[in-house]
């Protein structure tokens, strides 16, 4: 049997030591009437050889960017991951450890996450970062809850229509139980109309949720939007794209109070949607309102610098129902990946990656809109993603590209919350630094 070490002889001796005759006897606590009394109905056991060919077969039925060209976006991206990231993330000492409760036996993890927090602060220009949340959508929801605690306003949250529709759905799910009104400001032009936002927020509003670049790829006027929130005493919550910060202004510079992100771009593979990395940062004054773990620096009894889980009185294991969040297991390994990724890229590498995305995305947008029936949906500036309006239907374009081996999307028709009329004509396209001019040209040729 797999992964069991004790021989039948050892098992017998162990039972003797315990003072019972059989393993069955150990289950005496479970009343007989509750026992299953039959084997579980599971597929047959496979050896490693069989399992590997089974998984290879299943994997081959999926579209991999190694065979198909990925222009898919919408919060998960085919960015390059240096081999060194995998090498560190596959160190047993990291990936088979757990939450660093025993600081003396976890200095590797604790220092790495302290570095993670520091790197994320450098990246965003924010004061504090926690040590990870689940992913981008729950990070927005946690930020909203945090804003409600910080402002003591619990009745209203304003969110732009250009925020990822799935993040918005998650927010709706999280808020439904607590009678908090979620006001969505429509963004038919692809970006928010600042005047409309000013009208939507008021002195009851806990926060304004902005995404930059937004779900359509467009750049919002973050400075003005943040000012609109602050004018009514609301907090500005910004969901950013980490790679974009190689080039774009940082949330800390334009006054965000809480900045969150989907951190998948920072060295985590796409793996059909998770595990990813929820990034959450804030200004110093809100630190005790933060959800999730925080690593702090201190000294040991000999005065040596070391790291510990800090400010734990915010967390569920201490504070229970008064905790700032219910999160326990987080996304540590993905935070480690981001730490290694950012350490490798440095300022120059991140800047290059961001610039390549920008240049290639703009080239792709130019070329794609030369195809008849395809135009840019919005006029606002964009970074690595843009939205196309396809007069003959986005499905047709996706199918045509798909048949030639190119994956585009997501089409907006898949979202209940896309907020556009004729959603089936709209299509998001993402272009990372990995795409080449040859691939873009071939895609365009396939659409002609």
């Amino acid at each position: 049997m797999a992964y069991l070490y004790n021989t039948p002889q050892q098992q017998r001796e162990m039972l003797q030591t315990i003072g019972v005759d059989s393993i069955d006897e150990l289950f005496d606590q479970i009343p007989a009437g509750l026992r299953l009394g039959r084997p579980l109905d599971l597929p047959p056991a496979l050896t490693e050889i069989e399992l590997e060919s089974h998984l290879r077969e299943l994997g081959a039925k999926n579209g991999s960017p190694l065979q198909r060209v990925c222009f898919l976006g919408g919060g998960s991206y085919d960015h390059f991951i240096p081999a060194a990231v995998d090498a560190i993330a596959s160190r047993s000492e990291f990936y088979t450890a757990y939450t660093p409760y025993q600081a003396e036996a976890s200095q590797g993890t604790l220092q790495a996450f302290f570095e993670y927090q520091s790197l994320i602060c450098q990246l965003t220009g924010m004061d504090v970062s926690n040590a990870s949340l689940y992913e981008g959508g729950t990070a927005v929801s946690e930020a909203v809850f945090m804003a409600m605690r910080a402002t003591d306003r619990h009745g209203k949250v304003v969110l732009l229509g250009s925020v990822h529709p799935e993040y918005r759905e998650v927010c709706e799910t999280y808020l439904r139980q607590i009678n908090c009104e979620l006001v969505v400001v429509p963004t038919p032009e692809g970006v928010a109309d600042v005047a409309a936002v000013r009208k939507a927020v008021d002195d009851q509003t806990a926060c304004l949720v902005i995404q930059q670049p937004n779900f359509f790829g467009c750049l919002e006027q973050t400075q003005e939007l943040v000012a609109a929130a602050h004018a009514v005493g609301a907090l500005a919550v910004v969901s950013f794209d980490p790679i974009s910060l190689g080039l774009l202004s940082r949330p800390g510079e334009y006054g965000a109070d809480i900045a969150v992100a989907e951190g998948q771009s920072l060295g985590t593979p796409m793996q059909y949607g998770g595990p990813y990395l929820g990034i959450l940062t804030c200004r110093q004054e809100f630190v005790r309102k933060m959800p999730g773990r925080l690593i702090g620096e201190t000294v040991d009894r000999a005065g040596r610098r070391c790291y510990v889980l800090n400010l734990q009185a915010r967390e569920q294991h201490i504070r229970r129902e008064k905790a700032t969040s219910n999160i326990c297991t987080n996304q540590g390994l993905m935070a480690l990946r981001a730490t290694v990724y950012l350490s490798l890229l440095g300022p120059a590498g991140l800047r290059e990656a961001a610039e390549l995305c920008t240049r290639k995305a703009h080239y792709a947008a130019d070329r794609l809109t030369s195809v008849s029936g395809i135009e840019l949906a919005f006029r606002a500036p964009f970074f690595k993603e843009f939205t196309l309006r396809c007069r003959h239907g986005a499905d047709r374009v996706v199918a045509q590209a798909g048949a030639a081996g190119f994956d585009l999307g997501p089409g907006l028709a898949r979202f209940r919350r896309a907020g556009l009329d004729a959603a089936n004509e709209y299509l998001v396209v993402a272009v990372t630094e990995k795409r080449t001019r040859a691939e873009i040209d071939a895609l365009v040729a396939a659409l002609r």
Partner: protein
């Protein structure tokens, strides 16, 4: 032997001009950046990240890793966390092309293999739970709890009932009350019996028309099976409430008994515990929930469904299926973006496919055997209030030892590190004073368990003053937590 140079903070290792990643130059026609993104939207300079070469980055993090204890290097009997061996094949298989690099918005046509894995996972988890409807969305156990509670509210809302309270025993994990509060419920904590079981009188007194859900871990956090669970379930159901089973301790009962068969209406799994998602230095996890059929329509989605394709003519040709994504009809909505923590689910799938039915049961049997063996080896020196039987873990109390000799649970935990063992969970559950919660898991040999028991015996014979200062052999000694909290230093800052 330690390389202290390499384990300075990464920021101290930085030298201007170094780099660890280089990108190709642009192959598209050059245009001024200002034409692409207005200068007003751009930062004046790139973020002030450290500058290092690849070998430095590798040496730094590899050396950092050696300051950790982990399952692959040490016995890690962290109670409630099921720190079992993580099979290496899972890492290879979850890393296969078409799996690790599959985009979440890849078309259904080009995701059939992945959807088959996830569909089968739903089926297997439903079977092990004895609860037919499964959502794989939740990212970890805590999110599973929260999700199930929202599912319950949606159900009650549909019935036209206003139920505002969630009940749980005081032995519950902190995430239970935290999830209930997040889901907008009032929390009612119930006292347990002296033996740590659900107190039926307490429960009876607390149940009424306001009760939405009773949350209970079974086996409970003391590692004991709640024998009265059918009666408990009946009482909760008679009051119109639902029973939630916190499945953190599923490693004890898989194939032996099922939450759905002992009265549970909803449960979560911790795939990272029971089915070996590596714990990743804190995460990721995966916390699927399984619920009764009448709750299935409220689950968050997407959920994978399977449809039989029309036969393609040839007689006797195998049935072909097409897998699709579906949102349940009355779904509470999404609880996260995309499908779920798929990378962990794939590892869980590989584990269940390796074990099969007999293997899954063998897993639980041996987890229980190992725990009872260790309990037998320790109970004469380490008081275990619950008695001399347990399921997959047991909770000792250092209280008598502390009263007599001043040795605390913390002292024992810290000193174990010196002996080369990761510490058990301490000070949880809260109902046991000076709790030491030991979960050996099935993937440990008797030799290891014997060595661990020996270490505890030796420690208990040591000078208490020496133990208060433990650990003595780890890279650092006990950190000053008071100082950390009083003046929090949460990031590196450039010396000015």
């Amino acid at each position: 032997m330690r390389n202290t140079l390499a384990t300075q903070l990464i920021f101290d290792l930085s030298q201007p001009g170094r780099r660890g990643a280089v990108y190709p130059s642009s192959d598209v026609p050059d245009r001024p950046l200002d034409d692409l993104i207005p200068a007003s939207r751009r930062a004046a300079s790139a973020p002030a990240l450290p500058e290092l070469t690849e070998p430095e980055v590798i040496r730094h993090f590899v050396n950092l890793s050696t300051k950790n204890m982990s399952v692959d290097t040490h016995f890690y009997p962290l109670g409630s966390c099921t720190m079992k061996y993580n099979p290496k094949r899972h890492e290879r298989l979850a890393g296969l092309q078409g799996i690790v690099d599959l985009h979440p918005y890849q078309s259904v046509e080009h995701s059939q293999g992945m959807l088959e894995i996830l569909y089968t996972m739903q089926q297997m988890l439903a079977e092990i739970a004895g609860l037919p409807a499964v959502s794989l969305q939740p990212a970890a156990g805590a999110q599973g709890e929260f999700t199930a509670l929202l599912t319950a509210s949606a159900y009650f809302r549909d019935l036209g009932e206003t139920r505002t309270r969630v009940l749980f025993p005081n032995s519950a994990h902190g995430t239970n009350p935290a999830s209930a509060a997040l889901a907008g419920f009032e929390c009612v904590q119930l006292k347990s019996t002296a033996q740590g079981f659900i107190d039926l009188d307490e429960l009876r007194a607390a149940l009424d028309h306001r009760t939405a859900v009773f949350m209970v871990t079974n086996p409970n956090t003391l590692g004991m099976f709640e024998r009265d669970i059918p009666q408990v379930a009946k009482m909760v159901h008679d009051a119109g409430g639902l029973v939630y089973i916190d499945g953190a301790n599923m490693n004890a009962i898989c194939g032996v008994t099922r939450p759905g068969d002992f009265g549970g209406d909803m449960m979560h799994y911790n795939v990272h515990k029971t089915f070996t998602g590596p714990h990743g230095a804190g995460g990721p996890g995966s916390g699927p929930i399984a619920v009764r059929d009448f709750l299935g329509d409220y689950l968050p989605g997407p959920i994978v469904v399977r449809n039989e394709l029309p036969a393609d003519g040839a007689k006797g040709a195998p049935v072909k299926f097409r897998y699709d994504l579906m949102m349940p009809s009355k779904s509470i909505g999404r609880v996260r973006s995309f499908f779920g923590n798929v990378g962990i689910l794939v590892r869980g799938y590989c584990y269940l496919r390796t074990l099969g039915a007999a293997g899954v049961r063998g897993m639980s049997e041996n987890a229980v055997l190992n725990a009872n063996y260790l309990l037998a080896k320790l109970k004469d020196v380490l008081p275990v209030p619950q008695g001399d039987r347990c399921m997959h873990e047991f909770v000792a109390s250092a209280k008598p030892i502390k009263d007599e000799r001043g040795i605390s649970a913390m002292d024992i935990a810290k000193r174990l590190l010196d002996y080369g063992f990761h510490a058990p969970t301490v000070y949880f559950p809260l109902v046991v004073p000076e709790a030491i919660m030991i979960e050996p898991t099935e993937t440990e040999s008797r030799e290891t368990l014997d060595a661990f028991a020996d270490a505890i015996r030796k420690i208990l014979a040591e000078d208490p003053a020496y133990l208060h200062e433990a650990p003595h052999q780890t890279p650092v000694s006990r950190p000053d937590e008071v100082r950390a909290a009083r003046t929090p230093v949460l990031k590196w800052e450039k010396a000015t």
